[in-house]
């Protein structure tokens, strides 16, 4: 099952490499990874998505917790949560396709953030599924470049991940 794990950790050199190293060392997958400082600049929040059965996820969480730099973490998929990913996508948009691409982008609530006479750059936010769906909907339109941020997430309701 796909999981979204959010980790609060010391914003220190080496901390990120320890998290990433853990995954390769123990043969766990990382599907996406995003990391940035929080409102407290000494803390970073890292969010990663991975897949595995319950046993594997339990081990991943235990091993992440063991890292000295990791202060706290949560498996967001265990409860209600909000998941967002941002994508910037450059597509060919000429002739009749130009209008069609714009129409599809509108349906997905995408924003055209840059244009040239032959292409659009579209910005899209949402769940990873929605971004995948957008790419699928563009079938037939040549995609020139895709930049996705990876998933970020937060629990719904009163629950917070903080020290």
């Amino acid at each position: 099952m796909r999981r979204i794990i959010s980790v609060l950790m010391e914003n220190q050199p080496g901390a990120l490499s320890r998290v990433v190293g853990l995954f390769s060392q123990r043969n766990y997958n990382i599907n996406s990874l995003t990391v940035a400082p929080t409102e407290d600049p000494t803390l970073s929040r890292l969010t990663l998505t991975t897949v595995g059965d319950d046993r594997k996820i339990e081990q991943i969480i235990k091993h992440l917790n063991k890292l000295v730099d990791v202060a706290k973490l949560v498996d967001l998929t265990e409860g209600n949560h909000i998941e967002r990913e941002l994508m910037l996508i450059k597509v060919k948009a000429t002739g009749a396709q130009r209008a069609e691409v714009k129409r599809v982008a509108d349906i997905f609530r995408g924003v055209v953030v840059d244009i040239t006479p032959t292409m659009y750059t579209i910005q899209l936010t949402g769940t990873s599924d929605k971004l995948d769906g957008f790419i699928a909907a563009l079938a037939g339109t040549p995609i020139l470049e895709v930049a996705r941020t990876g998933v970020s997430g937060i629990a719904r309701g009163e629950k917070v991940l903080s020290l």
Binding site: E10, G14, G21, Q59, N65, K66, V68, D69
Partner: protein
Amino acid sequence: MALLSGGEMLLRALHDEGVEFIFGYPGGAALHIYDAIFRQDKVEHILVRHEQAATHAADGYTRATGKPGVVLVTSGPGATNAITGIATAFMDSIAMIVISGQVARESLGSDAFQETDMIGVSRPIVKHSFMVQNPQDIPEIIKKAFYIATTGRPGPVVIDIPKDVTDPNVKFEYSYPETVKIRSYSPPAKGHSGQIKKAVDILLSAKRPIIYAGGGVIQGEGSELLTQMARKLGYPVTNTLMGLGAFPATDKQFVGMLGMHGTYEANMTMHESDVILAIGARFDDRVTNSDVKKFCPDATILHVDIDPASISKTVTAHVPIVGPVVPVLKEMLELVEAGKSKIDAAALKVWWERINHWRTRDSLKVVLADNDVIKPQQVIQALYEVTQGDAYVTSDVGQHQMFAAQYYHFDKPRRWINSGGLGTMGFGLPAAMGVQLAFPSATVACVTGEGSIQMNIQELATCKQCSLPVKIVNLNNKALGMVKQWQDMQYGGRHSHSTYADSLPDFVKLAEAYGHVGIKIEKLSELKSKLQQAFAMKDKLVFIDVVVDPEEHVYPMAIRGGGMNEMFLSKTERT
């Protein structure tokens, strides 16, 4: 407040932390530190002859004393030579501080002379690591490093120090922090009382119980409490290779070591049990055998460990308890005392009858050779007698290691010092140096093989320089015996690169060349007297080269893919 350079601060901090010895080897990036060592007399530096030996010596020191050993190496090759020893300590959860010199800050990342990314290279085999960015941070980093290495599940910590950080000309105010707090690191202080209660209830209602104790009991100083509790319960106890000495081997409740080369009775008792109390043990594949589905089919598993990641990793625990052994055992002991009457004495009696029946199989019986040929097991038996079971025994890796584990009966914790998790050949002699330094008047025996000893033989020179009277007991079977045994059993006897009888050194002469005493023993009839003679030389290192039967195999041996009840018992018998 004193003004000190980075190098001086490092030495002062180590002294303030109570460090007696640094095991090390100098080189460019560490020279400022070496100069600081020269100009003080509080911390003693032991010059090894290879950085790997420094790590094993520090490791042996930790295992024997419970205090973290300290290593100092230079950058590049010095640091990479230390890697095997760091990995060895990591696998066995041994506290160790490894300080590595590094190129100056401005040269970092430039492929400078002797630059290796030590933090990167060591990352998967350390508990934590620090790169020192500023000299002022040294006292706090040292404090944190010792705290992290020694608390929770212990492990090695690397501190990488760029050369300019220890510049003798740049001085700072020094003060050593009294306490340390790391907000992202809080090892558990006690176990969950509800879980403990649940575990004890199950334990007391068991009909076929066994206590399976590992190295964590020794590391966590829980041996005494464990012994008390086991005696109160009257249950059988088995120790892992790492746990030997956690419960006294000569106690009648002890059924021997379990696992791949465990006794028949230990493995049978495990397999047939209905309740297993695992404590400070991690269900390693050398214990469970390769197919965990066949592992102890009827057993309810109560698992106490300080590391949650060790619980339900391979074998699912029915009652997990995360916590340090001492507070957990204290709580358990109280509950056991209060609930003692619940023990099913009749069932226990039947259980012991079965165990005693398994014991009659006498799985460690030595089949004697004729013609005065020495069986390797007999050497350990003689060693046990000559040292009256009171030696510190370090070992290398191979058949000799298993024989030592099986035939030397350890009654006390911290006496059996071996590389269990990584299985590092070359560990024994340097580890013995660390032990001997910690306990100068103790008897320290290094049980080794002619293969393993040659992996760190150069340390004979360190022993000479530091007058370390280690007794090296070389079970010389003229082969990489354990490899050869596997080739006998699984590869049709094709001894691919496991023999070298025609190119072995004369170990007696070799020992003499290093300024030590060498003794060769070839006949069973002279085994004990010559061993006695060697161990009587209290202040000398004696290299005892014992020629043993090269055909001997280690038994029992778990049958791959089987349960714990499936073992080869000799070359011709199996369960």
